[in-house]
């Protein structure tokens, strides 16, 4: 019983982080249709930022997290403006819009990893802050850092979800997804909106990275595990559905914990991949995806 509760608690906590990484990817992907293969490397940048800040200011460094989010989001915008925008906005067809971007973002990912390698070496890094340690509640252990990370993620998610689903800004974002040109024709500044959504999406990756750094070790390739996970999650949640991504993130977290605890540790990821493939076959549009006829 305690074990079950433990599985659920840690699953939800871990899943919240997957959720926020994936919501970010889902947002930027949904709006720009850019399958950003560098997304997880921005998570790594967030991690290193916090490592450096905490190294300099101790636990106080955590207070700079909003700045990290801004900075990482800014880097994302920069990537978009410098490398992606031209082919994205002037694309004559779907292929042209998507193909270069897969390659370009994969290249950016390699670049970030290499840059981090040269800046920080391949050594694992970690920090210790006031968030170290865990609470023990009736035999269930709750990592302080994870709990805080979850709460922050949830809050960030709530804000984003409201903005996207309830505001005109969000409606404009969603309209770009369907037809960017028509959106421009009704007055939406497409380039700006896409840049903003990419900034937010990648900023969320930075946020997740910053939170992860409080309890994870960091090396230049840390992101890769999250890349695969984020792809799985956004598809389980239904491409473009930010809420779906967050919920699916939690589902994945719990499945992962349960498999690790009850089945076999080294099949944790296998379970996720299988879950993913099965869901795809049964519901090609994801668990929470809506079907759009053409």
């Amino acid at each position: 019983m305690t074990t079950l509760v433990q599985v659920l608690v840690s699953g939800v906590l871990v899943g919240g982080l997957y959720g926020i990484i994936s919501s970010g990817l889902s947002l930027s992907f949904g709006i720009s249709k850019i399958a950003n293969f560098a997304h997880a490397d921005f998570v790594t940048i967030g991690m290193y930022s916090v490592v450096v800040l905490v190294g300099a200011f101790g636990s106080l460094g955590l207070l700079f997290l909003p700045l990290v989010v801004l900075a990482v989001g800014g880097l994302g915008v920069l990537m978009y403006l410098l490398l992606l925008r031209r082919s994205h906005v002037t694309a004559m067809n779907e292929d042209e819009a998507h193909l270069p971007q897969i390659v370009v973002t994969a290249g950016v990912g390699i670049f970030i990893q290499s840059l981090l390698l040269s800046l920080f070496s391949s050594n694992d890094r970690s920090i210790s802050t006031i968030l170290d340690g865990s609470w023990n509640l009736a035999g269930v252990s709750v990592s302080k850092a994870q709990a805080v990370a979850f709460v922050v993620s949830l809050a960030a998610f709530a804000v984003i979800a409201i903005v996207v689903n309830r505001t005109e800004f969000g409606r404009a974002l969603r309209s770009i997804v369907d037809d960017g040109e028509a959106a421009a024709a009704v007055g939406v500044n497409r380039a700006k909106m896409v840049a903003i959504s990419i900034g937010i999406g990648i900023g969320l990756a930075g946020l997740a990275g910053g939170l992860l750094a409080t309890y994870q070790t960091v090396n230049p390739t840390s992101g890769f595990n999250y890349l695969a996970m984020a792809f799985v999650v956004i598809i389980l949640g239904g491409l473009g559905s930010i809420r779906g991504a967050f919920i699916a993130g939690i589902v994945v977290g719990v499945v992962q914990q349960a498999t690790g605890t009850y089945v076999a540790l080294d099949l944790q990821n296998v379970a996720i991949w299988v879950l993913f493939l099965v869901v795809l076959l049964v519901r090609p549009n994801g668990l929470f995806g809506k079907r759009v006829a053409l």
């Binding site: 433990q6 840690s10 694992d124 890094r125 170290d132 865990s134 595990n225 076999a264 540790l265």
Partner: protein, 395 residues
């Protein structure tokens, strides 16, 4: 002029000449990009310490005082084809012998290239499969994985006994790769044979993002000794998670991760007390180690880690072989390596104190050592003759 197909001697270019010149190149194909960069860098730093020592002492005397030069090659961290190309280049550029490539998988390909070109390679890898291929040019001074697992247990049991501790229940966990599963399983079985009880060890997939299920499983076993292995990142998550739950059970670690300097940085003070099994340590009372470790620390600012030490010994062994063969021809160096029995000087500075090679390239004298982190450095605690401090179980 012209292309390679027009050349008369197709392979092993540049090594056929009888005179060795004033410098002799040893190739060091190691991972210098990707996640294993640090291990590769450490290994190369070890070879450079050795080269400096040899050159300072007058070079290879049998070859007119020829100096040793280390040529590095980047094998990458995960791409054997790159390892193959890099090694080919080193050999083609005149390396008479190779030292590399830390990761077993990379060593596998690097040694195949070396075998093809008939150039000896001395490795820092442990995997049993490497020496099972009956290669003529493969040499492995450190022990094999399977040896390390079993030996570790007898070491720990004996060391514990020396401070009045016995273990009744052990629990093992590690990544699900071949080397680690072999080691952990061997160690757990040895503990069982020694009278302790143990559940079957559990294995996880390297690159964990959360250690909770592992910790839950370990905690449930109520052991009084935990056997753990894995990459620095994974291990630190596990150990920190255990400590966060106030589980202070002593931990015996396997594998390279437990003794690299970066591990101490990740773990902070929590590193102290961790016990690790390895193939070399900077404080070993063996010939030349002290000076080399000091030089290393001076030059690189850190204690000399295991892969640096192994590589350092490897270079000295190559030098010894050249002295013996009075040749810098790769095939003759290899022949000399097969026949040497080094008992003195840095070439013998592997635990065991003596290096010679079986037909399969393994070193029959090799034994592992047990170290324990104290003051953020690993100190040798067993075998007793190498111990620089007493083992401590925190009880």
């Amino acid at each position: 002029s012209g292309g390679i197909a027009n050349q008369t001697t197709p392979s092993s270019a540049g090594t056929g000449n009888a005179t060795c010149g004033t410098t002799i190149t040893i190739g060091a194909p190691n991972p210098l990009s990707g996640p294993l960069t640090d291990f590769g860098t450490n290994a190369i730093q070890g070879t450079q310490i050795a080269a400096a020592e040899i050159n300072a002492a007058g070079g290879i005397k049998a070859l007119g005082g020829a100096k040793i030069k280390i040529e590095t090659g980047d094998t990458g961290s995960s791409d054997p084809s790159q390892a193959t190309s890099a090694t080919t280049k080193l050999i083609e550029d005149g390396s008479v012998a190779l030292v590399g490539a830390w990761l077993s998988g990379l060593t596998t390909t690097v040694s195949t290239v070396a075998e093809q070109a008939s150039v000896p390679i001395l490795s820092q890898s442990w995997a049993d499969t490497l020496s099972q291929r009956s290669y003529q040019f493969y040499f492995q001074p450190p022990p094999k994985s399977s040896q390390i697992g079993g030996a570790a247990t007898s070491y720990v049991v004996a060391a514990a006994k020396s401070v009045g501790v016995t273990f009744t229940k052990v629990a093992g966990v590690g990544p699900n790769d071949v080397a680690n599963t072999a080691q952990i399983t061997a160690a757990v079985n040895a503990f069982k044979a020694a009278g302790a009880s143990a559940d079957a060890p559990t294995f996880f997939q390297a690159g964990i993002t959360d250690a909770t299920p592992i910790i839950t499983r370990l905690a449930a076993q109520n052991a009084d000794l935990l056997l753990v292995s894995g990459t620095p990142a994974d291990v630190s998550l596990i150990v920190k998670g255990l400590r966060a739950r106030n589980i202070t059970t002593p931990i015996l670690g396997f594998g390279g991760a437990f003794v690299v300097p970066s591990f101490a940085k990740v773990m902070g003070d929590q590193v102290n007390g961790l016990i690790a099994v390895g193939a070399w340590n900077w404080d070993l009372p063996l010939p030349g180690v002290k000076a080399a470790a000091a030089a290393y620390k001076k030059k690189y600012g850190e204690f000399m880690p295991m892969e640096a030490g192994e590589s350092w010994v490897d270079v000295h062994l190559i030098a010894d072989a050249m002295e013996k063969a009075k040749s810098c021809k790769p095939t003759e160096i290899a022949a000399a390596l097969h026949s040497i029995d080094v008992t003195s000087g840095p070439g013998s500075a592997m635990p065991g104190g003596e290096v010679s090679f079986n037909a399969d390239g393994t070193n029959p004298h090799a034994v592992p050592v047990l170290t324990q982190w104290k003051n953020n450095q690993p100190a040798t605690v067993w075998p007793q003759k190498y111990a620089t401090t007493k083992i401590d179980f925190g009880k």
